[in-house]
């Protein structure tokens, strides 16, 4: 088994900065943006992207968390997962442009679950997807709008995202 670091701390910071600029660019400014992270690490990334978009866009962007556990299609195949809190910003999501944030995009099934969860909360004008690492192997017709890094990987390899505020270290590694 070998472990290779594919993104270091500075690379992650640069990727998040670029994603934040791209979000503002594609939205033509900060108008109507809501950023929602998918637990656990997506929430931390969403907070960082939210802070950057707030800084670059010059107005405060609401940030929240969207738990998808209860919408997953693989619940009965795994040991029971504990759901995580969902926090929707006070302004809600109706008519907003929601940017979903997750650490790794793999099969696309979490995002499918997230879209279902969003539908139960309200009706956004548009939903975009920001991902730190896209490792391929999609099982559903889902693609990200903003990508930190495309990381071709084999199905059996493991991609680990570690963030300073959760894991004490900031890196993306690939294990094979």
């Amino acid at each position: 088994m070998s472990t290779r670091t594919v993104l270091h701390e500075a690379d992650i910071a640069r990727a998040l900065t670029r994603i934040s600029h791209e979000i503002l660019e594609s939205n033509r400014g900060p108008e109507g943006l809501v950023i929602l992270g998918i637990p656990t690490r997506g929430v931390n990334l969403a907070q960082r992207i939210g802070a950057l978009v707030t800084e670059f866009g010059g107005r405060s962007i609401p940030v929240g968390a969207l738990d998808v556990t209860m919408y997953r299609d693989d619940l009965h195949r795994n040991p029971t997962r504990a759901p995580q809190p969902t926090e929707i910003p006070a302004g809600g999501i109706d008519g907003k442009t929601v940017v979903l944030v997750d650490d790794v995009l793999f099969s696309g099934r979490s995002i499918r679950a997230a879209l279902d969860a969003l539908q139960d909360i309200g009706r956004p004008a548009a939903v975009r997807l920001a991902i730190l690492v896209d490792r391929g192997h999609r099982e559903l017709p889902i693609r990200p709008d903003f990508v930190g890094k495309n990381l071709p990987s084999a199905r059996e390899e493991r991609v680990n995202v570690r963030l300073a505020d959760v894991d004490g270290i900031e890196e993306v590694t690939i294990e094979s």
Binding site: D67, M70, Y71, L75, T80, P85, T86, D120
Partner: protein, 321 residues
């Protein structure tokens, strides 16, 4: 978790897990669309051998909010009244493909029999058995106490340092028993107050303090005062002379309500006998959590059904809890 049969053997971690998942369930109940797709395709059977409205409706609402199919089965008007045994009833439900059975039975231990007999593979939830336990009621009470005292910081917390006083017919009360075990597991100090005739004989082995005088108990400044229902249907002997005397000595009237400390709460599992164990003043005061308990009941039961049904099924007998 395979079954939820009692709170006596429930560990602190398992109890907190249920309460924390219930927090998430409660959050989803404030959404525009309250229904979650989580248990789509699962079947929950409410098997009620004793009358119950609120518990059955609460379980039904919980299962439906999680998209499970619900079959209500009450003993009256069923083959049970024709003499069908619990085993045959259970096997019928098994043949219909029940994934969980919520059972209320007049005999203490019936849910455990159902869970351990090998008649069914479904998860079993005890919704009240005889004078034994009523675990989801205790869980919703603990949830309500935690929510009132810790608000948004409730997740992951136990009830250490809180003092809960349970008043009334402890002898016949499965709610009291389940609460004694659960609340002490969660670190709360529990006091029981009852007429001597309504205190169970084995109470000396319980981790509680016993008092016979409600006014002394109120002077101890409990954080939560839980009034139990006087169960007229079980009052087959002269446990107290008259209802008026009971009400005067052990009922929560306006004067006693006024002597409670400022942030303490008044709980009642319902249905209330207004004017007997609880006065209208107490039941309708801002301290009263009666309606919150009903709301929280749905969230707690959603959490229990979720933890029982959502994950991979462990093989029968692997986890006998």
């Amino acid at each position: 978790m395979r079954h939820l049969l009692d709170t006596r053997t429930l560990t602190r971690d398992d109890a907190l897990r249920i309460l924390d998942v219930a927090e998430d369930m409660a959050d989803t109940q404030r959404r525009e669309v309250k229904k979650l797709p989580t248990l789509r395709g699962k079947t929950v059977v409410n098997l009620f051998f004793e009358d119950s409205t609120r518990t059955r409706i609460s379980f039904e609402a919980a299962a439906k909010r999680l998209s499970a199919d619900v079959i209500n089965f009450s003993a009256k008007g069923s083959s049970v009244s024709k003499g069908e045994s619990l085993q045959d009833t259970a096997q019928t439900l098994q043949a219909m493909g029940a994934d969980a059975v919520v059972i209320r039975h007049g005999a203490s231990g019936a849910p455990r029999t159902l869970a351990t007999s090998g008649w069914i593979t479904a998860g079993v939830v005890n919704a009240g058995d005889g004078t034994h336990e009523h675990p989801t009621q205790a869980l919703l009470d603990a949830f309500t106490i935690r929510k009132r005292f810790f608000g948004a910081d409730s997740r992951g917390r136990d009830l250490a340092g809180l003092r809960v006083t349970i008043v009334g017919d402890v002898l016949h009360s499965r709610v009291a028993r389940s609460n004694v075990w659960l609340l002490t597991t969660l670190g709360a100090a529990v006091t029981l107050v009852a007429p001597p005739t309504l205190v169970p004989q084995d109470v000396s082995a319980w981790p509680v303090r016993i008092r016979y005088d409600l006014d002394e108990a109120i002077a101890d400044e409990p954080d939560a005062l839980m009034m139990l229902r006087i169960q007229a249907e079980r009052m087959n002997a002269a446990y107290f002379p008259t209802e008026r005397e009971y009400s005067r000595r052990w009922g929560l009237d306006a004067a006693r309500l006024g002597r409670l400390s400022a942030d303490s709460i008044v709980m009642h599992p319902g249905p209330m006998n207004r004017g007997l164990e609880i006065s209208a003043d107490a039941a309708d005061s801002p301290r009263s959590t009666v309606l919150e308990q009903v709301t929280n009941g749905v969230s707690v039961r959603m959490a229990a059904l979720y933890l029982l049904l959502a994950g991979e099924r462990t093989r029968a007998g692997e986890d006998g809890r």
